[in-house]
Symmetry: C2
Subunit: 120 residues, 2 copies
């Protein structure tokens, strides 16, 4: 199987986990919220109609993807955005964007060459 590594620092498995973690609206909402402030797991669970255990699982998925961290404070578990993980994700997305833009640039170049042929 030929699968290019998109990053020297992120394994394909890590990238899989990041994208899969973000492929759910509830989890994206959790990321947005804990990136803008602190929430306990039950504090998060109160925001959604699903069960506490379901939210707990969503947080676990985000944690495995390094997008979020948990820290025990008293009897609560505080969830925060993991800036290192988020930065990794951002870097990864930059790389993907670069590949796509290179393609766009190549097309632009080809079109530019055609234009030159039309010059006097």
């Amino acid at each position: 199987m030929v699968v290019d590594k998109l990053s020297k620092h992120l394994s394909n498995a890590e990238i899989d986990r990041i994208f899969q973690a973000l492929a759910d609206a509830t989890r994206r909402d959790i990321v947005a919220r804990v990136t803008a402030g602190e929430y306990s797991v039950s504090g998060l669970a109160a925001l959604y109609t699903m069960s506490f255990a379901a939210v707990q699982k969503h947080v676990a998925v985000l944690e495995r993807a390094s997008l979020v961290t948990k820290e025990k404070r008293g009897r609560e578990q505080i969830v925060r955005g993991n800036h290192e993980g988020l930065q990794k994700a951002r870097h990864l997305l930059d790389q993907l964007e670069t590949i796509w833009r290179q393609r766009a640039d190549r097309i632009a170049d080809i079109l530019a060459e055609d234009d030159e042929k039309d010059l006097p």
Copy 2:
């Protein structure tokens, strides 16, 4: 259930499809390849050890996520990167990045305020 819409133009279902499509190394490889050139489905299938049908399914997932288009040419089906879809994905990722960066900036501001308090 409270789930913020991250975009006026992309539904949560569309975003789900985009991230999930990218949550597989083979599919990311396909996106990279068809973004850099043209491939038939069988041309793609030749690159991987899995069956033709499996690759066909991966392409279908990418197509449903609007990251790729198929066009019939003779008996072949040509797969290309869908620039509109890719741009949507890029825009979406920019928005996520903005949210994360705003958080970082807010932290920087808070730290800056603390520094000011230490001034003479």
